[in-house]
């Protein structure tokens, strides 16, 4: 069945942070010209070369499910959204660097996506490949992306970058700077692109190659997070690679 071959990655975040633009950039290497509100869920497909450059290179389709809405939505909307959270292989959390609240809400988003107990009604939609184990030990690779970096003034940049350090409490993020309006930031060879493809490789690995193995290991905090900063629309300034800052937390 086709559903067994799917690699599903959720893209979560508050409304207006730039998830749709991000997904469009990742999948079609083009800037989204007219972003509008996402109602429900919009899906796009990225063609990804697993283990690029090695003899084991193989092409996979990665589905990016961009779920719209806010954390404070009505419980009926949350129940409807929950149908998209089945059998997820990876999650990308998107937050807006110019909006503090969107970073704080990421925690609630992670609870909503990973903790199925929060589904208010008793209706459980069972597909063939719904796997409870996947959620129990939280082996899902996570990625955090901060958008609209170019809207933050140079002097405040350090303060903003360290602000999201709270996300580093439980896991070790790496941070990358990208530009949503300039596809060159994801060009092959740049460190952003490398980190992004490492994330997707990890997703594919966990999906296909480690499935038989470590399912029963219960290590609650085993999340790896890569962080990609994406500046947003207005200024078409290009940042040289020299302004990249990576904060490593070991």
């Amino acid at each position: 069945m086709a559903s067994l071959d799917r690699v599903k990655v959720l893209v979560l975040g508050d409304s207006g942070v730039g998830k749709s633009s991000l997904v469009h950039l990742l999948c079609q290497n083009q800037v989204l010209g007219n972003p509008s509100w996402t109602v429900g869920c919009s899906v796009d497909v990225r063609v990804h070369d697993y283990k690029e450059g090695t003899p084991e290179e193989k092409t996979y389709y990665i589905e990016l499910w961009d779920v719209g809405g806010s954390v404070g939505s009505a419980s009926s909307v949350k129940s409807t959204r929950a149908v998209f959270y089945n059998s997820v292989n990876g999650i990308i959390f998107v937050h807006d660097l110019t909006n503090k609240k969107s970073s704080q809400n990421l925690r609630r988003w992670s609870l909503e996506a990973l903790n199925r107990d929060l589904v208010p009604t008793g209706v459980l939609v069972t597909n063939g490949d719904y796997d409870q184990e996947q959620f129990a030990d939280n082996q899902i690779p996570l990625l955090v992306i901060g958008t609209k970096l170019d809207q933050i003034h140079e002097t405040k940049r350090h303060e903003v970058l360290t602000r999201t350090a709270f996300l580093a409490e439980d896991f070790n993020p790496e941070e990358i700077n990208l530009d949503c309006t300039n596809p060159r930031y994801l060009a092959a060879g740049s460190s952003n692109a490398v980190k992004l493809s490492r994330f997707f490789d990890k997703v594919i690995e966990k999906r296909y190659f480690l499935r038989e193995g470590n399912q029963m290991t219960l290590s609650p905090i085993c999340w790896e997070m890569f962080s990609i900063w994406i500046p947003g629309f207005p200024d078409r300034k290009r940042f040289g690679a020299g302004t990249l800052k990576s904060l490593h937390y070991d």
Binding site: G40, D44, V45, E63, A74, T80, V83, K100, N127
Partner: protein, 450 residues
């Protein structure tokens, strides 16, 4: 001396109201956004503070607190400030923030916001022409603000009067079973799967085209057209076809999502109606529907027979008890307390109702870009609403307390406002009934469709 004490009491209470407005803004309205322009928060809290002060002055009037002359002074001052805010400051800032959002006009923000404000003033003035308004300058502003505010109040009351029993009563709840929801969810996921498979085809086609070095976009220019005739551009043609199919499917998925959310909401309401609280609200719903029908009836009678109630409910109630039921009590004492309680309840419920409605409205339509503009619009609506409540509340107070309002607001045609309220209330209630009927009818038909 007493004037100073009175003023200090007033100012303290104003500061309290300002603080409350500030907290409400921060905790409720803007809880999902980051506040970057503190001007907006200040304006909102100031509008709220001065509107509440007006209500406070009415209460003081009834209770006889504070010196009469200082009350009058504070009334006048309060009214001037509120009018200043509602007519000058808030519209100007609305224009300013709208212009700030438009990138092109960034340089001449001030100029364009002044232009916008002048346009607003023009229409605001034009608004007063068809209505009977007296000549003295002072009333021009109040009467226009009053007209807009009364219209808003009547619209909200009409819709609320009809919507309240509709939401409370379980009679109108459609029957939703779990299988319905499951079926819809399955359809939704199937649609998503179809979208995904089509997008996979598109992505692969794009990739092969890219690898072969073909042109992605539509060929443009003279030579491009010639080229497209000879070479097979079947790749891009296929893509546009598939893209159209994908667009249609995405529209379908959005519809299904909204329907599913609707079903979940109905299911929750059904469960809620089985609880104790739900049953209580159901009973209230029947009560309110009778009240609503009565109000529509009274509004029609008022318009048809062209009459405006002369006495307020308090005095009429007392008359009835004294004359018909034969209970003797100290009229003056009780009328004061009862009217205080009645007016207090009206004020509190209208403030609370308005704040809740504003919050819901704000959550529904705001985004991170437009939040400032929307909050200011809400502040404007709130100010106008409260000013016109003062106008209309006059009718609920016994004669001796009405004088202060009549004095302060001048020779306004109060009867006109009540008539206008009745007309708009009737229109709003009837159209809400029509609207809800259509919406109710349409929904079960959607579920019948396979």
């Amino acid at each position: 001396m007493s004037f100073l004490i009175d003023s200090s009491i007033m100012i303290t209470s104003q500061i309290l109201f300002f603080g409350f407005g500030w907290l409400f803004f921060m905790r409720q309205l803007f809880k999902d956004y980051e506040i970057r322009q503190y001007v907006v928060q200040v304006i909102f809290s100031v509008t709220f503070a001065f509107s509440c002060t007006m209500f406070e002055l009415i209460i003081f009037e009834i209770l006889g607190v504070l010196n009469s002359s200082s009350r009058y002074f504070h009334w006048k001052m309060n009214l001037c400030v509120i009018l200043l805010i509602l007519v000058f400051m808030v519209p100007f800032y609305i224009g300013y923030f709208i212009v700030s959002n438009i990138r092109l006009l960034h340089k001449q923000r001030l100029l364009f916001s002044c232009l916008l404000w002048l346009t607003f003033m023009y229409f605001f003035w034009k608004l007063g022409d068809p209505f009977p308004i007296l000549s003295p300058k002072h009333e021009q502003l109040i009467s226009r603000v009053g007209v807009i505010g009364v219209t808003l109040m009547a619209l909200l009351s009409g819709f609320g009067a009809v919507n309240c029993p509709y939401t409370y009563m379980s009679y109108f709840l459609r029957n939703v079973t779990d299988t319905d929801i499951l079926a819809l969810e399955r359809r939704l996921l199937q649609t998503m799967d179809m979208i995904i498979s089509k997008k996979k085809r598109m992505a692969m086609a794009r990739r092969t085209m890219f690898q072969k070095g073909e042109v992605h976009n539509k060929p443009s220019g003279f030579w491009g057209m010639i080229k497209s005739v000879t070479t097979s551009a079947s790749g891009s043609e296929n893509l546009t076809l598939i893209q159209q199919e994908v667009d249609a499917l995405e529209e379908l998925s959005r519809q299904l999502f909204l329907e599913t959310a609707d079903l979940y909401a109905t299911k929750e309401r059904i469960e809620y109606s089985k609880t104790f609280k739900g049953k209580y609200f159901n009973f209230l719903g029947y009560f309110f529907s009778i009240y609503c029908v009565w109000k529509i009836f009274m509004a029609t009678i008022n318009i048809v027979f062209d009459r405006v109630g002369k006495t307020d409910p308090v005095t009429r109630g007392i008359e009835i008890t004294v004359n018909y039921l034969g209970i003797q009590f100290d009229v003056k004492f009780w009328s004061q307390h009862i009217s205080f309680i009645l007016v207090g309840i009206i004020i509190v419920t209208s403030i609370r109702g308005l704040l809740i409605t504003l919050t819901k409205f704000f959550y529904a339509i705001s985004s991170s870009k437009s939040s400032n503009v929307i909050v200011l619009l809400l502040a404007q609506i709130m100010g106008m609403y409260f000013v016109s409540s003062v106008l209309l509340i006059r009718m609920s107070m016994p004669l001796e307390y009405r004088t202060i309002i009549t004095e302060v607001l001048g020779e306004l045609q109060f009867n006109f406002y009540h008539r206008w309220f009745d007309v708009i209330f009737l229109v709003s209630a009837l159209s809400s009934i029509l609207f809800l009927y259509l919406a109710h009818k349409q929904a079960p038909e959607k579920q019948m469709a396979p």
